[in-house]
């Protein structure tokens, strides 16, 4: 297992959330551009995926990268962690992985003063960016332990509640093609991911860059921390304050309704899906330097945000059916205008 050393001291999370009155407003647009640029420098040819990833980060969401092996899923997760500059936890999903391996557990500690006692030893989830590789290879028990921790930002062990550091983002990867020995994520688990992206193979010229070392893992070490977790946390606060017009909200409601009425969708998108879509749209608006959400934000993010949340009636094993149907639904709803 590829466990990184857990952070020795969990970040004291309560204090830095208070924004100093004299703090300069954050230029979200520039910050996002820098973050996306550093992803682009490493992960070749997936600018749009990079934008969605950063939007997920700003929207306090979790990202699931779903693709065939070897297209840079893990690399994408790692570069986000590096660029953000916070702590980084990595978990490799295996069937024998236990919830305690993820969240941390009470360990006997012996020291000369106090003797042996049980002390909470935080798991890899106590990091600003948590990369969970091969999520569907872990058992459902472990999956839900991780996702609940991510959702609630707390871990409770032995009656003690431990707060996760802020910001906290789970970037999970999974291979949808290989199904032997995997535990498919249930609808409830999938619903906890703000966005699912499928980068796919890069174009030949980018592939050449990777092979010759101009991009790819070899460049990972060159990435320096652009910002700090504290700045990301403040950015997240600012993003949450982006204005959403009622018309835009109604547009999302219409799209959700369309997924619920579509004949080929057995179960439409949930309300949580709508909330998460709005959050992502806010992040995208902020990343473009706007203080308001426009319908194009919704239309551009709906597939990534809703594609995994609909249950396709007759998918015949297609992994893209949900995304295609959501795209159809979005196209069928008229966008609001002035």
């Amino acid at each position: 297992m590829d466990f990184p050393p857990p952070p020795l001291a969990p970040a004291p999370n309560d204090a830095p959330r208070a924004v100093q009155p004299d703090a300069q407003p954050i230029d979200v647009r520039a910050l996002a551009a820098q973050l996306v640029a550093s992803i682009d420098a490493v992960v070749a040819g997936h600018h749009d995926i990079a934008e969605i990833a950063i939007a997920t980060l700003f929207a306090r969401g979790n990202l699931l990268i779903e693709d065939i092996p070897g297209v840079g899923k893990t690399l994408l997760a790692q570069v986000i962690a590096r660029a953000v500059g916070g702590s980084f936890g990595r978990i490799q999903g295996t069937p024998d992985l236990l919830p305690g391996d993820v969240t941390g557990s009470m360990m006997p500690i012996t020291d000369p003063v106090n003797g042996t006692r049980l002390e909470f030893r935080p798991g890899p989830v106590f990091a600003n960016v948590v990369v969970f590789d091969e999520l569907n290879r872990a058992t459902p028990r472990t999956q839900s332990a991780l996702l609940e921790a991510a959702e609630e930002s707390t871990v409770t062990v032995d009656g003690t509640t431990h707060r996760l550091p802020t910001p906290n983002m789970v970037v999970a990867t999974q291979n949808p093609i290989e199904i032997a020995g995997t535990y498919g994520l249930g609808e409830g688990s999938l619903d906890r991911f703000s966005a699912v992206v499928t980068p796919g193979r890069a174009a030949p010229e980018f592939e050449l860059d990777v092979l010759t070392g101009r991009r790819g893992r070899s460049m990972l070490n060159a990435i320096e921390a652009i910002t700090t977790p504290a700045v990301i946390a403040r950015t997240q606060d600012e993003v949450a304050a982006i204005y959403v017009a009622d018309a835009v909200g109604a547009y999302v409601v219409d799209i959700l309704g369309a997924t619920r009425r579509h004949p080929n969708i057995r179960l439409g998108a949930s309300t949580r899906a709508g909330v998460s879509l709005i959050s992502l749209a806010r992040a995208r608006a902020a990343m473009e330097g706007r203080t308001y959400v426009v319908p194009d934000d919704i239309a551009g993010l709906a597939v990534a945000s809703l594609g995994h949340r609909v249950l396709v009636a007759d998918s015949n094993g297609s992994t893209t059916a949900g995304r295609d149907l959501v795209a159809e639904c979005v196209a069928s709803v008229a966008a609001p205008t002035a």
């Binding site: 032997a180 426009v294 319908p295 239309a299 609001p336 002035a338």
Partner: protein
């Protein structure tokens, strides 16, 4: 590149229209109704327009390019994308057929479909055909074409066995020797299974684990090289190349015709596919070296009578509703013609509504059993009712009025419930067309034209909506097009109808007769007034004016006619006469005159029972010379209370009357009952066509009749009342034209026209009515005028008598019937011409001679009806048209104002911006498309992205308040984009 359009098929159900049209023709023959003929002409024009519409529609569409994947396997489906230009955005769908697959072109200029390419080879162009039936969808037109595509390699499905190959092997040390194939090596891992490998190759454990078929990878001890000639069987070539790769060899295709063969190494499956396609292509060229056969010209191609659509053709709901409206109009028209009761109308309406609802359910796929049971029960019950009704039917018209409408109603309602597709809809519309023609043949009122117009508009609309899947929005262009088409259709209808003569009366087969059995009877054939009482003699001795005041109470319809009594006649329509030409509708004939009162003889005719009654000729009816005669058929629809006088034109030969008639020896005909409203009878008359020349040629009748003047048959028509004054005789002798009685009559008439005056309020004569009129008062009405003419002619030895009846009345030019009013009652003179029989003359009313009148055409009638309609009320009509236009403009303005108010200035700008690219829904995306279409630097306009952002800010940024300058600037920018996009579109069209 494309060929000419040519018709290929008639739409399903289209033949029913042709059948209905022919039935309409039969109805014209049967009823002689000009309205039906006009209807048929209009239908013909509409059908012709519908045939042409497909051709016109096809002209506006052009396919520009096809996109296909570069490789394909014959027999497998591939995705094809077609791009087209539609210069006229019409709701009429156009189908594109290529590779034996048909798909409808989308609105947006790009359509994708899945096709199967059957033949292997290299495809450098796509042969396609465009098909459409146009808006009305009656005849399907096709235009073939061919569009170039970048080469598509289509390979056959690989098939063994392996071709003969040249083996070359290189051993581990790199030297090459001609070896006998590779040695099987050791296991070297796993790889995906390749099609064609045996089951020995499968690695079962990993196959089970992954769910995919995994095969062993084995090392080759030495690398072998296969080289295959391209000149081989394509399917086996592909198989061989694949097999070589499967075995891990270096595979080379040798091409003898190519100069360079080094690069022909097959590396991927696509390579082997391409080589196989090349091989197939060469074979294809070798086998069919000759040029493609010349296409047959369109006129030599056969047109399929029925187009079988590839897809099921459901009926759009709005087309279904229009069809029901057409059926309802037809049924109401029919019931109106047959005097249907209110309950019948309600029943028809309800039936159509229920059947519409049922058929809508059926077309939605739901076929509940109860609907079929309901339909069956209704059908059986209605048929039983009709059977009961039909058992008591006597005559034809009774059948037409009783069970017939019920049967037709049942047919329409039941068929309406079964409408599921476009074929049945067209058949249904054709059936309603037959009903409209039938009703128009029976209807004699003036509203028949409006009913037909309403049905026509609704039916054309239904036809036009049948093929479209969506309700076409009524844009400005569409409305103008509809208007133009309607105008052209109306013009051509009138123009064509101008060549169609008015039908020559009803055919004898279909002559209706109907009378009221409860009407007051006159069993002995004596004259009975409208009230059923024997009419009192109009001569009362009292010199005062008699005022009968009744509608049918003309004094001429009694046994005596006092020239001093004039009935007070109203303006009501007393009867409608369907006849091809105008004529006097004669009722009574008077021979005896005492200078003041005309009398009929007491001799009544012998009764003859109907319905078909042959009338024997009376004195003077049989022409002496063998003159050709013609049949003149009239049908009388009585609309008011009339006495038992049977009217007829010329010499009635046959009368179709539901009852008994008494033909009098003087030629008048009486019935055994009074004629009530609703009575219908027909008269077939014999007429001798005469012209002034033919009458003049008969010479001086006084001289010709002189030898027989003492015989009673002639003498009764020569008797002059003793009170006749000498002045009258002198005048008659003085005006006489030697050698020609016809000219003598004309001379008398013109003298009277010069010296006397027609006056309904003429003073009542004291003594001799003729003398009084000619010399004393010199004012009189028709009885006095006609009496004077008779007396003057008799004094010159010319047999003459007085006839009363009605003048033709005004002809309704749409329904083609003469509307006879009470005030049309008249008295005129009949003169016995020995060669042609009794001829009517009238100094006051102008009725043409039977040989003179030129038969009008349907078109001329309709045109004059329209023109007189406009001319009689130009101001009102203009006001109505103006009012209509103003209302339409107001409606449009109101909607536009509402839209503007709802959308606001920025909403309107956003709409215009988004309309620049109809596929996008948000402003930034539209901006991206616009930026790709136009060159902002060249046309010096703002970047569309900026405009899009501004539009979004206005809508969604609460902190932003746009200024008027912003709005102006954006409006200017959008206008510039609109110009640029239009320009780009034009360039694209002209390039293609």
């Amino acid at each position: 590149m494309s060929s000419r359009s040519h018709p290929v098929a008639i739409a399903p159900g289209g033949l029913a229209l042709i059948g209905a049209w022919l039935v309409g023709l039969a109805i014209v023959r049967l009823t002689g109704a000009a309205a039906v003929l006009l209807f048929l002409v209009a239908a013909l024009i509409a059908m012709a327009g519908s045939v042409v519409s497909g051709w016109l529609r096809l002209r506006s569409v052009n396919v520009t390019t096809f996109s296909l994947p570069p490789t394909a396997t014959a027999g497998d489906s591939v995705d094809i994308v077609s791009e087209h230009i539609d210069q006229r955005r019409s709701s009429a769908p156009v189908d594109l057929v290529a590779f034996d697959t048909s798909w409808a072109l989308s609105d947006v200029g790009m359509t994708s479909a899945s096709v199967v390419i059957a033949d292997p080879g290299i495809l450098s162009s796509v042969d396609y055909s465009l098909e459409t039936a146009g808006a009305a969808g009656l005849v399907r037109w096709r235009r073939r074409g061919s569009a170039p595509v970048s080469d598509v390699h289509v390979a056959p499905v690989a098939a063994g066995p392996v071709l003969h190959v040249e083996h070359a092997a290189s051993s581990d040390d790199g030297s090459t020797a001609h070896g006998a194939g590779p040695k099987t090596g050791e296991l070297d891992g796993a790889r995906p299974w390749r099609p064609g490998e045996g089951e020995q190759a499968i690695h079962w454990p990993s196959t089970l684990r992954t769910g995919e078929i995994i095969a062993h990878e084995r090392t080759a001890a030495s690398e072998a090289q296969w080289s295959v000639s391209v000149e081989s069987d394509p399917a086996r070539l592909r198989w061989t190349l694949e097999e070589g790769r499967r075995r891990g060899h270096r595979v080379i295709v040798t091409d003898d015709s190519a100069t360079e063969s080094a690069g022909n190494v097959v590396r991927t499956a696509d390579d082997s596919l391409k080589w196989s396609a090349i091989a197939a292509d060469r074979r294809g060229i070798d086998s069919t070296g000759e040029a493609a056969p010349k296409p047959t010209p369109w006129w030599r191609r056969s047109i399929s009578l029925v187009h079988k659509p590839l897809l099921p053709a459901p009926v759009p709901t709005h087309a279904r509703l229009l069809t029901s409206a057409a059926a309802l109009i037809a049924l109401w028209m029919l019931l109106g013609a047959l005097g249907g009761s209110l309950s019948q109308r309600a029943l028809a309406t309800g039936g159509v509504a229920v059947s519409t609802a049922l058929s809508l359910r059926i077309s939605k796929g739901a076929r509940p059993t109860w609907t079929r049971i309901l339909v069956a029960v209704v059908a059986v019950a209605a048929l039983a009712r009709i059977a009961v009704q039909a058992s008591g039917i006597g005559g034809l018209l009774a059948a037409l009025r009783g069970p017939m409408p019920d049967l037709l109603m049942l047919l329409v309602v039941l068929h309406g419930a079964e409408i599921a597709d476009r074929r049945t809809t067209r058949v249904h519309l054709a059936v309603t067309g037959v009903i409209v023609a039938y009703a128009a043949g029976l209807r004699i009122d003036g509203r028949v034209g409006w009913w037909m117009l309403a049905w026509g508009v609704v039916t054309v609309a239904a036809f036009c909506q049948l093929d479209t899947t969506k309700l076409g929005e009524l844009r400005r262009g569409v409305a103008a097009r509809i208007g133009a088409w309607s105008a052209v259709g109306a013009m051509s209808t009138l123009a064509l109808a101008a060549f169609v003569p008015v039908p020559d009366g009803p055919a004898s087969l279909g002559l209706p007769a109907l009378s009221n059995n409860d009407a007051p009877e006159a069993p002995d054939g004596s004259l009975v007034g409208p009230d059923g009482n024997p009419s009192p003699p109009s001569s009362t001795g009292d010199p005062s004016r008699g005022a009968l005041g009744e509608v049918g109470g003309y004094t001429g319809f009694s046994d005596t006619l006092d020239t001093s009594v004039r009935g007070d006649l109203g303006d009501e329509i007393v009867m409608r006469v369907r006849a091809p030409e105008p004529a006097f509708w004669r009722g009574q004939i008077f021979t005896e005159f005492d200078g003041r009162v005309w009398r009929v003889s007491d001799v009544e005719g012998a009764p003859i029972e109907g319905p078909e009654i042959a009338i024997a000729p009376t004195v003077g009816d049989l022409p002496l010379a063998p003159t050709p005669t013609e049949e003149f058929v009239q049908t009388y629809h009585v609309e008011a209370q009339l006495p038992n006088v049977v009217f007829g034109a010329g010499r009635p030969e046959t009368i179709i009357f539901d009852g008994t008639v008494f033909p009098r020896p003087d030629g008048a005909i009486r019935a055994d009952r009074t004629l009530d409203p609703g009575t219908v009878y027909s008269v077939v008359s014999q007429r001798v066509p005469v012209t002034p020349t033919s009458l003049r040629d008969q010479g001086d009748l006084g001289e010709r009749f002189a030898p027989f003047a003492d015989r009673f048959q002639v003498a009764q028509f020569l008797a002059i009342p003793p009170s006749t004054s000498q002045a009258t005789l002198d005048l008659a002798a003085q005006l006489r034209v030697e050698g020609s009685t016809y000219d003598t009559i004309r001379a008398y008439e013109s003298w009277m026209a010069r010296n006397t005056e027609y006056d309904l309020n003429a003073p009542v004569p004291d003594g001799d009515a003729v003398d009084d009129f000619l010399f004393d008062s010199q004012r009189g009405f028709c009885e006095q005028i006609a009496s004077s003419l008779v007396v003057m002619l008799r004094s010159q030895g010319v047999p003459a008598r007085l006839a009363t009846g009605y003048i033709p009345g005004s002809r309704n030019q749409i329904s083609g019937v003469f509307e006879v009013r009470a005030s049309d009652a008249h008295a005129w003179v009949e003169v016995w011409f020995p060669d042609s029989g009794w001829e009517a003359f009238d100094p006051t009313a102008s009725v043409p001679l039977s040989g003179e009148s030129e038969r009008s055409t349907v078109g001329a009638d309709a045109t004059s009806a329209v023109i007189s309609g406009i001319a009689s009320r130009p101001v009102e009509l203009g006001l109505v048209v103006l009012g209509g236009l103003a209302a339409m403009a107001a409606m449009r303005g109101l909607l536009e104002w509402k839209r503007r108010r709802d959308r606001g200035p920025w909403g309107l700008l956003t709409d215009r911006f988004l309309a620049l690219d109809p596929l996008t829904s948000t402003a930034p995306r539209a901006a991206a498309v616009i930026a790709g279409t136009i060159d902002t630097a060249e046309s010096k306009v703002r970047d569309p992205h900026e405009v899009a952002e501004l539009l979004d800010r206005v809508a969604f940024d609460p902190s932003f308040t746009p200024s008027a300058d912003d709005q102006r600037a954006v409006a200017t920018d959008i206008a510039a984009y609109e110009r640029a996009v239009k320009q780009a579109d034009r360039e694209r069209v002209s390039v293609s």
